[in-house]
């Protein structure tokens, strides 16, 4: 493998991003993906297992791993950590009861060494519901200000309506792009 083929590989790799999308069950992860892909979001059943969606976003090829969030599945999340460029944590902003559960799972995830260095986008979903917590409240609830050594960003959104998702993904792509890639 000579330099010219390395350069070619790097160029291709720079155009690809692997995104892991997790969160508690019923947070709306699959809806976010479908919305982003322009698919019908009216009938979505709980994800049993995982979905992989490859889609073109601007000039990038996003490889989104959408893993179910039921409690029994959570211990298997780490099956999917390898080579993750960005972590998208989706929250049901109206599910105030499970906010602590949500915080624990997130913080646990962030301790995983294979996710070190991955950009973190938090999607405060279901902002269209009246009972939804605001972005500021969620930052407070999850203690996001305490995060160190982590590029993170939060946007309020409504996956069903489509609000906010684009700006969230824009940030992800920008943030991942700004890093220098290491070919592995």
């Amino acid at each position: 493998m000579g330099l010219l083929s390395i350069i070619k590989k790097v160029k291709q790799r720079e155009k690809e991003m692997r995104v892991l999308m997790v969160g508690l069950d019923n947070a709306g992860k699959t809806t976010v993906v479908k919305q982003l892909n322009g698919e019908d979001t009216s009938t979505i059943s709980p994800t049993l297992g995982f979905n992989i969606k490859t889609l073109q976003y601007h000039s990038y090829c996003l490889n989104i791993w959408d893993v179910g969030g039921q409690k029994t599945l959570r211990s298997y999340w780490r099956n999917y950590f390898e080579q993750t460029d960005a972590l998208i944590w989706v929250i049901d902003s109206a599910d105030t009861l499970r906010m602590q559960d949500c915080k624990d799972e997130l913080l646990g995830l962030l301790k995983e060494e294979k996710l070190v260095g991955a950009s973190l986008l938090i999607l405060a979903n279901k902002q269209d519901l009246p009972s939804a917590l605001t972005v500021a409240e969620i930052i407070e609830e999850l203690g996001l200000k305490m995060l160190r050594n982590r590029h993170w960003h939060i946007v309020g959104c409504s996956a069903r309506k489509g609000d906010g998702i684009i700006s969230g993904f824009d940030w992800v792509v920008q943030d991942v792009k700004s890093r220098i890639y290491v070919l592995d």
Partner: protein, 1284 residues
């Protein structure tokens, strides 16, 4: 700044998958047929996909729609397998082959994500794999435990490997499902009943482990599956069981080890890559010794794959023990395990491995490990890397070292403080080149060094990198311009571009340089050396690096061609700073010319030559003392006897160039030096190697122009006269060299002996009459020299004379310097006396006719048709010679000026007689009085009044001139020196070559013809100009010379003036050894003979002409057999019947010609060809039939058994179909008797047995056989008379 795109070089790059719909169509067909048609669809499917091999990402948007439906087919098979139903094996395999194509094109890592991953598929797919595996097992050849040592040798996977690979890969994806595997296992009843092992997992695991022992892709897929299975959170128990198993397996020895070890090692490497530290860390202490041992074990020694896997495994184990957050968190001072230290040691060894894949893996390992080590420990590792770059180190170590540096640089792990120490090493690696036998190694090192530079440019900010990159830039540009290998030049330029792009304006003139030195301009070596490098050298920052590199490296490179280019490249740098080259470089080169090392002295001599010349060109010639030194180099080389022994030829060529450049630069020489250099050239002119001779001749030209100021008797004796003498030398090398020399001498030296020069060269171009050593190269050189010297004497430099008196004053003078004006009056006056235009014209006519005569050089020797070289040289020489001749022929010029239409045409119109009405005897009759008809033609040329209706009678026109001039080359060309006639003879000679045997010759003929037709001013008197133009302009010479182009040329056979030469050429091809050429030409010829409907008028003309040329080639070893074969080709039954009906005398003449050729012949091939022709002639009517029969029977009682048998067989075959013949004469009984006689005789037996049988056959058919003794002399005598 974008990096260079390596893809843009390919012929065609795509921006999207244009066949997407077709791909989906194929997938749909496969789905609709439930996989049945998949096998048939594979070829097209894979053709499309492979097109995107290099741009696989374009396929990505479509893969989902390809993989999903195809795997759906598999899913259905899987359900059948689960229900233990019959499975259509072909359909399954075909579907898997489609999927496998996707996987190989796109890579399994990219493809796997498009496979379905629903939990419900896990069980059926496992079942299907089990089924496939059982098929595989059936077709597997079990190998004897001891016999085989290599994995590759076992055809274990056989025809199912695609299915294995696809299903294993799919399972590796399915196994990721985030459920407890027991919940999807149908065989397991109640999950809650306890920690029971799932049978499904056991099945997957055992299948995968079996595949781990296979070769190639299935092993990789199985390792992936095992790795992913065992790193699941619910598989901890299985993981430790596997670890135990693995520990034992890794220590296996013996024949099976090479099957078992790679799979296990690969699985472990994957496990320790993706697994969880908490679970795996406890395993490391036990695993580590096994991994370390694996690397040094016997399997590793044997297989680079095992070494690579061992290097991978050990680095992953070491990484396990390091907390990745450690280095970023900055908690330095932690203890680092023993494993890590050992791993670093192993990796450093791996960097020097003889195999590239191992070095790559080790380099990445070094990068990863250092990334996790505390900073000072990481730096310690870096500090040990320079040890790899030792003078004594192997190229592998340099390569590995560069790769490691690059990996570290990419991760930002090279501390800036290290860079000053490293950059000299990188510079050296950029030009690493180690001679090894007849070639050298190092291009991989240089490429990797460019990688280091590229990585450095990307990883650091410009403030840190500035000084280091500035130090690297000149070396980078040297490699970009001067590397021998194109990939290294491009790699270096890519690295430079990255540096300029990322580091802004750090590099002086960076943008300008990378515009000039891009991927494409560096693609060819010559352009890189002679265009790009001089451009960069205009900037003083880089100039010395470039020039020094040429001097120190490329001028002494092992590749001779590279040294020669390097010498030119050095000269190309001269204009950027003449003073530098005038001083330092000349001083450096001078002593090297006498170096004991061949490469050094050759390069230096050439370099000196080119630099001296370049300095002169920029008007800054060498100062006297250095010029004197340069002038002394050649004598010094000779004195040191560096011409002799190995490499002597290489030095001779360099010396010739040095003398040439010395002369062109007009360096002052002493008398002694002049003598010495001239002697040196004379000696090289005699060298057996043609390349050296021609270089010497070129140098001689320059030398004489520069240093021979007048054509003094001494000078002439040393040059012209000497070489005139040499043309007759017994030594062929001297003949060749002298001819070249005469072609190269300047006109001043040729003029006093112009007549003799042209005549002698003309003579030397002919076949040697009595030479003991005939030499085609000498003749070829003479032909070339003839054209060259004629050009020198009378060419270009002066206008053609307009009157007799003008010639004397417009003496040719090619000398650009003032030497010609110093010519003594006496010599000038002498030449003026002789050189009247008439006299020049006659000399040129002589030269032309000698060249035309050389077209008949068909000599052969053990190298084959060496005469073809002479003929080709002659065809190349003819256009310029004819042009000169025309310029000196006032009549011709007058004709072409006053009569714009070509003479052939005007002649033809005056004939006004359709050729069809001509009596058939005309052509042969005119052979006798061609002088008259030619005179007539010329007369008509002058008086041709009307030129209308030209195109309608074109064919007749061509025919007419043909009749009149057709025998121009029948007699001796030297006798007929009328310029107009010579043009015709030349064209006809060239046309003949255009249909001959050798493609190269045909191409040369067509190029020559094209040149003759396109000459400016137009060459008058070209016969059948319009027909020729029509054919030659119809396509390029290369195409016309091919088999498919030949029919176009053959169609010229209708043009009478060209018919004879064409037939001669075609006959040689038809009868030659090349069967496809022969049949292609004879087919074309036959179709031309076939006129409209039943009309065979063209056939008559062709047959007539064939018989007319026959006497010219009577008993010719080259042409006799071809003529017989051509005749046989023409004698198709209906052709023969037509000829008998319309011109029986031709059939008569044919019989006579055949008899004449066979009489007394001892050439078996010719006799057999004759037998074939005679058998065809048996179809004639009685008188002819009897003659043919007699002759055939004559062959059957001849003395060659093979000929007897062949003739008898042909006769028998003919008798079989005799009934069908309308000319049947014999009764059935006679015929049967005859056939019995034929079959009962052993014709290749004793002659005594055959002869009475012949008599019997003759009796049976009532034919009178001539008495045996009388036959031969009679036939010989009769043939010439009959032909006329």
């Amino acid at each position: 700044m974008d990096v260079l795109d390596p893809e843009s070089d390919s012929v065609r790059t795509c921006t999207y998958v244009e066949e997407a719909d077709e791909l989906f169509g194929i997938v749909q067909k496969a789905v609709a047929s439930k996989g049945q048609e998949a096998g048939d669809l594979l070829a097209r499917f894979s053709t499309i996909l492979v097109k995107y091999q290099e741009q696989g990402n374009l396929l990505d948007p479509h893969l989902e729609h390809i993989v999903e439906p195809l795997s759906d087919i598999l899913r259905k098979f899987a359900l059948q397998a689960e229900a233990t139903k019959e499975i259509n094996a072909e359909a399954l395999r075909g579907t898997c082959q489609l999927l496998w194509t996707v996987i190989t094109v796109r890579g399994y890592k990219n493809s796997v994500k498009f496979f379905p991953h629903e939990a419900r598929d896990l069980e059926p797919v496992t079942c299907l794999l089990d089924w496939v595996h059982s098929q595989t097992a059936k077709t597997t050849i079990t190998w004897p435990g001891t016999a085989l040592h290599t994995v590759q040798a076992v055809p274990r996977q056989g025809q199912w490997f695609e299915a294995d690979g696809v299903l294993l890969l799919w399972l590796s994806q399915l196994i990721l499902i985030p459920f407890d595997l027991r919940t999807v296992d149908s065989l397991l009843g109640d999950v809650s009943s306890g920690p029971q092992q799932s049978p499904l997992v056991a099945k997957i695991s055992s299948l995968a482990q079996e595949y781990l022992e296979s070769a190639g892709s299935s092993r990789t897929m199985a390792a992936l599956l095992m790795g992913r299975l065992l790193t699941r959170p619910d598989q901890a128990t299985e993981l430790s069981a596997f670890a135990e198993h693995a520990l034992q397996s890794l220590q296996r020895q013996g024949a099976n080890a090479s099957f078992i070890v790679p799979g296990i090692a690969h699985t472990l490497a994957i496990i320790f890559k993706i697994g969880h530290r908490k679970i795996l860390l406890p395993l490391v202490p036990r695993m580590w010794p096994a991994a370390a041992q694996l690397l040094t074990g016997s399997e590793a020694a044997r297989s680079s794959l095992v070494r690579k896997l061992a290097v991978k495994l050990s680095q992953r184990l070491a990484l396990m023990t390091l907390d990745r957050q450690g280095s970023t968190g900055g908690e330095d001072g932690r203890e680092v395990g023993e494993e890590v230290e050992e791993a670093v040691g192993l990796l450093l060894t791996g960097l020097q491995d003889k195999d590239t894949v191992v070095r790559w893996s080790a380099a990445k390992g070094v990068g990863r490990l250092c990334g996790c080590l505390p900073q000072e420990l990481g730096d310690e590792v870096v500090s040990s890397l320079p040890d790899l770059f030792m003078d004594s180190s192997a190229d592998a170590a340099w390569h590995g070292g560069c790769l490691a540096l690059a990996e570290l640089a990419r991760r930002g792990l090279l501390l800036p403080a290290r860079l000053p120490q490293l950059s000299p090493l990188i510079c050296r690696a950029l030009c690493f080149d180690v001679r090894r036998g007849p070639h050298s190694v190092g291009s991989h090192v240089r490429d990797a060094a460019a990688y280091v530079c590229w990585a450095l440019a990307r990883a650091y900010s410009s403030e840190i990198m500035q000084s280091s990159l500035l130090a690297l830039a000149p070396s980078l540009l040297v490699t970009a311009c001067y590397d021998r290998e194109v990939n290294c030049r491009r790699a270096a330029s890519a690295a430079f571009q990255e540096s300029v792009g990322r580091q802004g304006g750090v590099f002086p003139h960076g943008i300008d340089i990378l515009t000039a030195a891009d991927y494409f301009t560096l693609g060819t070596r010559t352009q890189a050396y002679l265009t790009v490098a001089p451009f960069i050298a205009q900037y003083p920052e880089y100039r010395r690096a470039l020039a020094d590199h040429l001097l120190e490296a490329k001028l002494q490179h092992w590749d001779r061609a590279l040294r020669e280019t390097a010498a030119q490249a050095l000269a190309a740098l001269v204009p950027t700073e003449p003073a530098l080259f005038q001083g330092h470089f000349v001083d450096a080169l001078l002593p090297l010319c006498l170096s004991p090392t061949l490469e050094v002295r050759h390069g230096a001599t050439l370099g000196l030559a080119e630099v001296s010349l370049a300095l002169d060109k920029v008007g800054q010639g060498l100062e006297d003392s250095r010029a004197a030194q340069v002038a002394g180099v050649v004598p010094a080389i000779e004195k040191a006897r560096l011409y002799r022994g190995k490499g002597g030829e290489i030095m001779r060529s360099a010396v010739c160039r040095l003398i040439e450049c010395t002369a062109l630069a007009k360096l002052p020489l002493t008398m002694a030096q002049k003598k010495a250099l001239h002697a040196s050239l004379d000696e090289n002119l005699k060298h057996p190697a043609a390349a050296i001779q021609s270089q010497a001749a070129v140098a001689l030209c320059a030398f004489c122009k520069a240093y021979v100021s007048k054509a003094s008797p001494e000078a002439l004796a040393r040059t012209t006269l000497k070489h005139l003498q040499g043309l007759k030398d017994a030594n062929v090398a001297i003949r060749r060299g002298s001819a070249m020399a005469l072609g190269a001498l300047p006109s001043m030296l040729l003029l006093p002996h112009a007549e003799e020069v042209l005549q002698s060269l003309g003579r030397a171009a002919q076949k040697e009459e009595d030479a003991e050593d005939p030499d085609a190269e000498s003749r070829m050189n003479a032909v070339r020299a003839l054209a060259a010297s004629a050009q020198t004497l009378y060419g270009e430099q002066h206008d053609p004379p307009t009157s007799h008196s003008a010639a004397a004053s417009s003496k040719p003078s090619r000398e650009p310097n003032d030497s010609s004006s110093q010519r003594p009056q006496g010599s000038s006056a002498k030449t003026a006396e002789i050189d009247t235009p008439m006299c020049v014209q006659s000399r040129l006519c002589c030269a032309v006719s000698a060249t035309i005569a050389a077209l008949d050089d068909y000599s052969i020797d053990n190298r084959g048709d060496v005469g073809s070289w002479v003929r080709e040289a002659s065809m190349t020489a003819l256009p310029p010679l004819l042009k000169l001749m025309a310029a000196y022929s006032p009549n011709m010029r007058h004709a072409s000026a006053s009569q714009p239409s070509p003479p052939a045409q005007s002649l033809a119109i005056s004939q006004e007689k359709p050729s069809a009405h001509k009596p058939p005897i005309t052509s042969s009759a005119q052979h006798t009085n061609n002088e008259n008809s030619l005179a007539e033609a010329n007369g008509e040329l002058q008086s041709a009044p009307q030129a209308d209706n030209a195109s309608a009678t074109l064919a007749d026109a061509d025919a007419a001139i043909g009749d009149q001039i057709s025998s121009a080359d029948d007699g001796s060309p030297q006798d007929a020196q009328v310029p107009e006639q010579l043009v015709v003879a030349a064209v006809r000679g060239v046309v003949r070559q255009s249909v001959e045997r050798i493609v190269r010759t045909r191409e040369a003929a067509l190029s020559s013809l094209k040149e003759l037709l396109c000459m400016q001013p137009a060459l008058p008197c070209i016969p059948a100009r319009q027909s020729l133009e029509g054919v030659v302009s119809s396509s390029n010479p290369e195409h016309l010379a091919t088999l498919s182009g030949l029919p176009t040329l053959v169609s010229l056979v209708h043009v009478e003036v060209l018919r004879q030469p064409l037939l001669e050429g075609m006959a040689a091809s038809i009868g030659g050894l090349d069967g496809s050429l022969g049949s292609s030409i004879s087919t074309a010829l036959l179709s031309q003979c076939q006129g409209a409907s039943q009309d065979r008028t063209p056939l008559r003309a062709v047959a007539q002409e064939l018989l007319a040329i026959w006497p010219r080639h009577h008993d010719s070893s080259r042409m006799a057999t071809p003529l017989l074969r051509t005749l046989a080709a023409l004698l198709k039954p209906d052709n023969l019947a037509w000829l008998e009906g319309n011109c029986p005398h031709l059939v008569d003449a044919m019989l006579t010609a055949v008899d004449g050729e066979l009489a007394g012949c001892k050439d078996v091939a010719r006799l057999i060809a004759g037998a074939d022709a005679l058998t065809l002639l048996l179809a004639c009517r009685p008188p002819h039939q009897e003659r043919a029969l007699c002759s055939l029977l004559g062959l059957m009682r001849g003395r060659f058994p093979r000929v007897r048998r062949h003739a008898a067989e042909q006769f028998y075959v003919h008798l079989l179909s005799w009934e069908a013949s309308p000319t049947r004469k014999f009764t059935e009984a006679e015929q049967e008797r005859c056939m019995n006689l034929l079959t009962e005789t052993a014709w290749d037996g004793p002659l005594e047995a055959a002869r009475p049988q012949c008599t019997a056959i003759a009796d049976a058919l009532h034919v009178q056989l001539p008495a045996l003794k009388l036959r031969e002399p009679k036939a010989v005598e009769s043939s010439p008379a009959a032909a006329n």
